[in-house]
C-alpha cells in the first residue's frame, strides 16, 4: 500500500489511473486525504518528506497540497504542525542561502496555507512586512547598500507574486494589514531606482514590436522593469476584487470543515543583513557588488512579445498571464531533465483558457533570455520538440508562427539572440526532417548579401548542413531553387596542391608538397620528417609558403574525419609547433587552416580550437587573426569568426575554471595526506615503544614486534611520499593557474584593444554619401556621447583640439587596413553588427571582465576610444557610465 499514497500525492489533480474516473480536483484532495489519514500513523516521516518535496517541485499544484494540509489539520494537528515547521525552516534556509526559487515558492505555499486556515493571516502579514522592511533598508543610501537592490526587488517580488494565491482571503480577513503591506511596497517602489536593461533586450526598440505583428494595433509598451510590471498587474487585480481565473481554489469546498481548525504559529523569520558596502567605495567596487547581487538574484525571465495580443493576452487579465508564466517557468525549472513529465505538465496546466501562444512566448523568452538562460540552449530545443509532439495539432503551427514573427524582426535582434535562434531553429528542424516553408522567404534573395534576414537564413542552412549533410539540406529548399544560392558550399577540403589546382601555386611548392606527402605516407618518423623539412623546405621557401606546404598537407591527410585530424595534430604536433613558433607565423597558420577548410565553417572552427588545445596557436594569435582586415570585412555577413573567437575565450576561461576545481581537490587531498602521515608516524612510534617495552619477552615476540616496527616504518614512509607528491601536485597546479590567469587577462586585453582600435577608427570616419538614410554618427554625437560618455566629450576647447589631432593620427596609423564599405547602408550594418558583438561579448564574459576592470580602464578604455565603444561596452557589462 505504501506506493499508493506516494503516487496519489504526486499525481493529485492530474488525469491519471491513480484517481480513476475522478475529474474534480476537490475529489482528488478528498481521496488523497482518505488514504493519507490511514497511512499517517505508520509512514509519517516519509509522507511529510514527500509532501514538502511536491510542494516545492510541483508548485502549480500548491492549492491542492494546501487544501490537503487544511483537511489533515482538522484531524491530525500534530502532523500539520510539522508541515508548518518545515515550511518555516525552508523559508529561513532560502533566505540564508539566497535560494530564490525556494523562497518564492514557500512564500506562495504559506499564502495557500493561510487560505486553508493552517496559519493565521497575521503571521503571513508579518512575513510580508519583514521582507518589505528589509527591502526598504537595502535601498536606503544611509543605512543600507543599494548595490544589493536586486535582492530587495526580489523580496518584494515574492510578496506580490504570492498575492494571486490569497489576495482575496487577505482582503477579507485582514484588509487593513494588507493595505499597510501594499503601501509599504508602493513606498519601496518610489524609493528604489528603476532598473534599465538596455543591454538585455532581445530587440533594439521595444515599442516597435507591438506594431509589427499581424494586426498593427498600438499598445502602450509595458515597462521593462519586472517589478513595476507586476505591481501594475497586482493593482489591476485589486480593482478586479482579487479575482484570478488561473489559480484553482479548492479550499472553498472545504471551508465549512475548516471552521473549527486551529491555526499554527509561524514564527518570525530572520532576514539576513545585506553585505556591507565596500569601504572607500569606488565606482568599480560598487559595480562589482551590484554584479554579484544580480548574479545571486538573477532576472528569471524577460517577457518577449512575439504574437499579436489578440492571440495571447486579450481575453485574460494581466495577472492571469503572469500566473501562467509562473507555472510554465516553474515546470521548466523543476522538471528539467524529465522530458516526459515536463511536457505533460506544461500542456496540462490547471487553467480554464488556452495558452499555447503564451507557452511558446515563454519558452522563447527563456531561450533568448539575456545575459544567459537558466539552462543550456539544447534544453529548450528539446522542450520545444516535446511540446510539438505533445500537442501535434496546435503547437507546431504556433512555433512556426513565432519563427515567422521573429524572422521579420531579425534586423533589430541582438546578435547573441540571433545566434541562439539560428542554433535552435537548425536543431529543431533537424528533428523534423528539415521541413520548412523556405519559399516564404524567397524574397530575401533580392536583398543585399549583408542583409540581416539573408545572413540569418544562410546561417540556419549552414548549421543544418552540419547536423545532416549537404544533399539532404539541398532537398529541403528545392521548392525554391533560387534559395540554393544561400546554401554553404559542399564541405570538402580545398587542398591547394591537389592536381586540379595545379597552376594556382608555384610548381616548386607542389613538388615539395608531393614529396612531403610521400614521406608521411611512407611512415617516416617524425624526426626524419622534421629533418627533411629543415633541409628541403625551410631553406628554399619563405615562412608563409613553408607553413602552407606543411600545414595544408598534414591537415589534408587528416581531413577524413575529426578523429583523423586529431590524430595528425597529435602525431605531428612538434612539426606544427616548430614551424609556427610566434604570433605572426601562427596567424599564417590559422589562415592556412581557414583556406584548407574554406568550405566548412565547422571544420575551420574545430581545427583552430584543437590547435589552441595543443598549444600550436595561442589565443592571442586567434584574436589577431579574427581582427585581420579580411575577416573584419565579414563581421556583418557571417558568424564564423565570432564562433572562433568565442571558442578561444571559452577555452581560456575553462582552463581557469578547471584548474580552480583541481586546486580545491588537491588541497583536500593534501590535507588528507598530511593527516595520514601524522597517523602513520604515530603508529610507528607506538610500535617502537612497544618493541622497547618488550625487551624482556621472548625472542619470537621481539621478532614479531620488530617486524611490526619495520612495517609501520614502511607505511609511514609511504605516507610521507604521498604527502610530498600531493604537495608537489598542488604547487604545480597553482603555477598552472597563475599562467592560465595571465593568459586570460592578456586575452581580454587583446579583445578589447582590437575592438577599440577598429571601431574608433571606423566610427570616426563619416559614412559615405547615404541616400537619405540617417547617419548613425550624427545620432551618436547627439545622444550617446552626451548622455553616456560626458568625460570624453567635454565641450572644452582644448579637448576639441586634442580630439581633432588624435583622430588624424589614428587615421594615419590605420589607414589602409580597414576600409569603409562603399554602400552607406552596408557600412551602417557593419557598425551595428560589430558594436552588437562587442556588447554581446561584454555581456557574456561580464564576470571575468569585471575582475580586470582597473587594468582595462587604465590601458584600453581611455579617452582616445570612441564614446560609442565605451557606452556599448559598459552597457554590456551593466556598468553605469
Amino acid at each position: 500500500m505504501s506506493a499508493s499514497w506516494h503516487s496519489l500525492l504526486v499525481r493529485i489533480g492530474e488525469r491519471c489511473p491513480e484517481y480513476g474516473g475522478l475529474a474534480d480536483a476537490e475529489e482528488h484532495v478528498e481521496t488523497c486525504f482518505g488514504y493519507l489519514a490511514r497511512d499517517l500513523s505508520h509512514n509519517e516521516s516519509e509522507i511529510l518528506a514527500l509532501l514538502m518535496q511536491c510542494v516545492e517541485e510541483l508548485p502549480h499544484k500548491d492549492p491542492l497540497y494546501g487544501a490537503l494540509v487544511g483537511l489533515i489539520n482538522t484531524e491530525d494537528r500534530e502532523f500539520v504542525g510539522k508541515v508548518v515547521n518545515r515550511t518555516h525552516a525552508g523559508v529561513q534556509e532560502a533566505l540564508d542561502t539566497d535560494n530564490c526559487n525556494k523562497l518564492r515558492i514557500l512564500t506562495r505555499f504559506l499564502t495557500v496555507l493561510m487560505c486553508n486556515s493552517v496559519v493565521s493571516p497575521t503571521s503571513l502579514i508579518e512575513l510580508y512586512e519583514s521582507l518589505v522592511s528589509s527591502a526598504a533598508t537595502t535601498v536606503d543610501e544611509e543605512t543600507g547598500n543599494p548595490a544589493w537592490q536586486a535582492r530587495a526587488d526580489f523580496y518584494v517580488f515574492c510578496i506580490l507574486a504570492s498575492l494571486p494565491w490569497g489576495g482575496i482571503e487577505l482582503s477579507e480577513r485582514v484588509p487593513e494589514e494588507l493595505e499597510r503591506v501594499l503601501n509599504g511596497i508602493e513606498a519601496y517602489l518610489n524609493l528604489r531606482k528603476p532598473v534599465v536593461y538596455s543591454a538585455l533586450q532581445v530587440f533594439e526598440e521595444s515599442e516597435k514590436l507591438v506594431e509589427v505583428g499581424d494586426d498593427t494595433e498600438m499598445k502602450l509598451p509595458e515597462s521593462e522593469d519586472y517589478l513595476e510590471n507586476l505591481w501594475s498587474s497586482i493593482q489591476a487585480l485589486m480593482e478586479n476584487s482579487w479575482k484570478v481565473d488561473s489559480v484553482p481554489r479548492p479550499h472553498l469546498s472545504f471551508e465549512s470543515r475548516f471552521v473549527n481548525s486551529q491555526t499554527h504559529d509561524f514564527d518570525p523569520v530572520l532576514i539576513p543583513d545585506n553585505p556591507k558596502a565596500p569601504e572607500n567605495a569606488t565606482e568599480i567596487t560598487l559595480g562589482r557588488q551590484r554584479q554579484e547581487a544580480e548574479r545571486t538574484y538573477p532576472r528569471r525571465n524577460m517577457r518577449l512579445r512575439i504574437f499579436p495580443s489578440s492571440k495571447t493576452d486579450e481575453k485574460i487579465t494581466p495577472i492571469d498571464r503572469f500566473v501562467v508564466e509562473e507555472y510554465l517557468l516553474d515546470v521548466l525549472f523543476y522538471l528539467n531533465g524529465c522530458r516526459k513529465e515536463c511536457a505533460a505538465y506544461m500542456v496540462g496546466l490547471p487553467v480554464p483558457f488556452r495558452y499555447e501562444y503564451i507557452m511558446a512566448e515563454t519558452v522563447f523568452s527563456q531561450l533568448l533570455l539575456l545575459p544567459k538562460p537558466p539552462f543550456r540552449l539544447i534544453y529548450y530545443t528539446v522542450v520545444m520538440v516535446d511540446l510539438c509532439k505533445a500537442l501535434p495539432g496546435a503547437f507546431p503551427a504556433v512555433v512556426a508562427g513565432a519563427v515567422r514573427a521573429l524572422f521579420k524582426r531579425v534586423a533589430e535582434m541582438d546578435v547573441e539572440c540571433r545566434i541562439r535562434l539560428v542554433q535552435w531553429l537548425s536543431h529543431h528542424l533537424s528533428n523534423f526532417q528539415f521541413v520548412w516553408p523556405w519559399e516564404e522567404w524567397a524574397h530575401i534573395l533580392d536583398l543585399p548579401k549583408w542583409a540581416p534576414e539573408r545572413v540569418f537564413a544562410k546561417e540556419v542552412l549552414e548549421k543544418e548542413v552540419r547536423l545532416a549533410y549537404w544533399e539532404k539540406v539541398k532537398d529541403s529548399v528545392t521548392s525554391t531553387p533560387r534559395l540554393m544560392e544561400l546554401l554553404p558550399p559542399k564541405n570538402t577540403p580545398v587542398y591547394v596542391y591537389a592536381p586540379e589546382n595545379r597552376g594556382s601555386v608555384p610548381e616548386a611548392e607542389t613538388t615539395l608538397a608531393t614529396e612531403f606527402t610521400n614521406l608521411v605516407r611512407g611512415k617516416k618518423t617524425v624526426r626524419e620528417i622534421q629533418v627533411w623539412i629543415d633541409e628541403r623546405i625551410l631553406p628554399t621557401q619563405g615562412q608563409q609558403a613553408s607553413i602552407q606546404i606543411v600545414a595544408q598537407t598534414l591537415l589534408y591527410i587528416g581531413s577524413k574525419s575529426f578523429t583523423h585530424t586529431v590524430t595528425v595534430l597529435e602525431k605531428y604536433g612538434q612539426i606544427f609547433r616548430k614551424i609556427a613558433p610566434d604570433q605572426t607565423s601562427q596567424i599564417l597558420m590559422i589562415d592556412t587552416v581557414s583556406q584548407l577548410w574554406r568550405n566548412s565553417a565547422q571544420m575551420t572552427a574545430i581545427v583552430i580550437d584543437r590547435m589552441m588545445g595543443y598549444r600550436m596557436v595561442s589565443n592571442l594569435s586567434i584574436v589577431a587573426w579574427v581582427f585581420s582586415p579580411q575577416n573584419v570585412q565579414q563581421f556583418h555577413t557571417s558568424d564564423q569568426v565570432w564562433e572562433i573567437i568565442r571558442n578561444a575565450i571559452n577555452k581560456t576561461n575553462n582552463r581557469t575554471v578547471d584548474l580552480r576545481k583541481e586546486i580545491a581537490a588537491a588541497e583536500k587531498a593534501l590535507k588528507l595526506a598530511t593527516a595520514g602521515t601524522a597517523k602513520a608516524y604515530t603508529k610507528w612510534e607506538a610500535a617502537v615503544a612497544a618493541l622497547k617495552a618488550a625487551e624482556a619477552k621472548s625472542e619470537d615476540n621481539r621478532n614479531a614486534l620488530s617486524a611490526k616496527v619495520d612495517w609501520a616504518k614502511t607505511v609511514a614512509d609511504k605516507a610521507q611520499d604521498e604527502e610530498t607528491s600531493a604537495q608537489d601536485s598542488l604547487e604545480s597546479k597553482e603555477a598552472l593557474l597563475a599562467r592560465a590567469l595571465r593568459e586570460q587577462e592578456a586575452l581580454f586585453m587583446a579583445v578589447y584593444q582590437s575592438f577599440a582600435d577598429l571601431l574608433t577608427d571606423r566610427l570616426s570616419k563619416s559614412v559615405p554619401e547615404s541616400h537619405g538614410a540617417p547617419n548613425p554618427m550624427e545620432d551618436t554625437k547627439g545622444e550617446d556621447a552626451d548622455a553616456q560618455a560626458p568625460v570624453a566629450m567635454e565641450p572644452d576647447e582644448e579637448n576639441i583640439e586634442e580630439d581633432g589631432t588624435k583622430q588624424k593620427n589614428q587615421e594615419d596609423v590605420i589607414n589602409g587596413t580597414t576600409t569603409l564599405f562603399a554602400d552607406a547602408q552596408e557600412e551602417e550594418q557593419w557598425r551595428k553588427c560589430t558594436l552588437g558583438y562587442l556588447r554581446a561579448i561584454s555581456r557574456q564574459y561580464c564576470d571575468e571582465v569585471w575582475l580586470l576592470m582597473e587594468k582595462l580602464d587604465s590601458t584600453v578604455f581611455t579617452d582616445k576610444v570612441h564614446p560609442l565603444v565605451l557606452s556599448t561596452t559598459y552597457a554590456g557589462l551593466q556598468r553605469s557610465s
Binding site: Q53, C54, E57, L58, F333, L335, N336, G337, C338, R339, K340, E341, R376, I378, Y379, V382, V385, Q423, H427, S430, N431, F432, Q433, K463, R466, L467, A468, Y469, K472, N491, T517, V520, R521, G522, K523, T525, V526, I557, G558, K560, S561, T563, H564, V566, T567, K571, Q574, Q602, M603, I606, G613, Y614, R615, N650, K651, N654, R655, D658, E662, A740
Partner: protein
C-alpha cells in the same frame, strides 16, 4: 532537481559483461565517468555530425566510432568523451532521444572507453543487435519514408573507412585509448583479472595537458606505440565476441 520522477540509483539498465569489476565498481564508474555511449546511429552518420550535436552540451575531448571489425566501417554506435562530468550528464539528459540522421539516438553513461571496445561484438563484425534486425528495423524500415531515407543515406557519401585511409593515405590510426597510452591496457591481461586500472576513467585528462611534456619523451614513447599499435587483436578476442555489442546491447 526533478528528483520526483527519477530514480537516482538507476544509472543504466545495461550491465556491460566486459566490465570485470563488481556491481558497485561498475556503478561508481558510471557515476564518475565523462564518457557516453551513443547508440542507434545510422552507419552513415559522420563524426562531424556527432561533434555538432554533442558540442551543444559542452567541450568534447574525443569521439570514438564503433566499427565493424571486418569492414572497419562505422556500425551504428560511438563513444563521446567530454572534459567535465556536468557536460556528460547534460548529454545524457538532453541528447538521448533526439533525432540524428532521422533516427532517435540513445545516449547512456558509459563506464569508460578502453582500446578494443570500438569493435562491434557481433559474429559478422558489426553490432550484435544488427544481427537481429537485418531485415526488420523498426526505426528505418517501417515506413516508405524510412526506406527513402535509408536509400538517400546510402547514396550520399561513402562510409568513412577507418582502416585504409582514402586518398593520400599514410595516417596510421593510433590507439584510441585515453591519452594515447592505450597499450598499457590490453584486454588479454584484463581477462586474467588484474591487468590495468579499472578506474582509469576517473582520471581526467585536462584541457591543458593537451600540450606535450616539454622534454618530448612521452610523445616519442607514444609514437613508438602508435607505430606498432596492434590493430589485429580481434582474433584473440573473437572467441568471446558473441555477447553484447560494442559495449552495449
Amino acid at each position: 532537481m526533478a528528483r520526483l520522477f527519477k530514480n537516482p540509483d538507476q544509472l543504466s539498465a545495461y550491465r556491460d559483461r566486459r566490465f570485470l569489476g563488481s556491481q558497485d565498481e561498475f556503478e561508481h564508474a558510471l557515476r564518475t565517468s565523462t564518457t557516453v555511449y551513443v547508440g542507434n546511429l545510422s552507419f552513415y552518420t559522420t563524426e562531424e555530425q556527432i561533434y555538432e550535436v554533442f558540442s551543444r552540451t559542452g567541450e568534447l575531448k574525443k569521439i570514438i566510432m564503433g566499427l565493424d571489425k571486418n569492414s572497419k566501417t562505422p556500425c551504428g554506435f560511438c563513444f563521446v568523451l567530454f572534459y567535465t562530468r556536468e557536460d556528460t550528464e547534460d548529454a545524457v539528459k538532453y541528447i538521448s532521444g533526439t533525432i540524428l540522421d532521422d533516427r532517435p539516438i540513445r545516449v547512456d553513461f558509459d563506464w569508460g572507453f578502453q582500446e578494443g571496445r570500438q569493435w562491434g561484438r557481433g559474429r559478422s563484425g558489426g553490432q550484435v543487435r544488427d544481427e537481429y534486425r537485418t531485415d526488420y528495423d523498426p526505426d528505418i524500415l517501417n515506413c516508405c519514408y524510412g526506406k527513402l531515407v535509408q536509400k538517400e543515406l546510402e547514396v550520399r557519401r561513402q562510409l568513412v573507412e577507418y582502416d585504409q585511409p582514402v586518398g593520400m593515405g599514410g595516417v596510421q590510426y593510433p590507439n584510441l585509448g585515453e591519452g594515447g597510452g592505450g597499450n598499457e591496457f590490453r584486454r588479454g591481461k584484463d581477462r586474467h583479472g588484474n591487468g590495468g586500472n579499472r578506474h582509469r576513467e576517473g582520471r581526467k585528462r585536462y584541457r591543458d595537458e593537451d600540450a606535450p611534456p616539454a622534454d618530448g619523451v612521452k610523445r616519442q614513447d607514444r609514437e613508438l606505440k602508435v607505430e606498432k599499435n596492434p590493430r589485429f587483436r580481434e582474433k584473440g578476442d573473437s572467441d568471446e565476441e558473441d555477447g553484447g555489442d560494442g559495449g552495449k546491447s
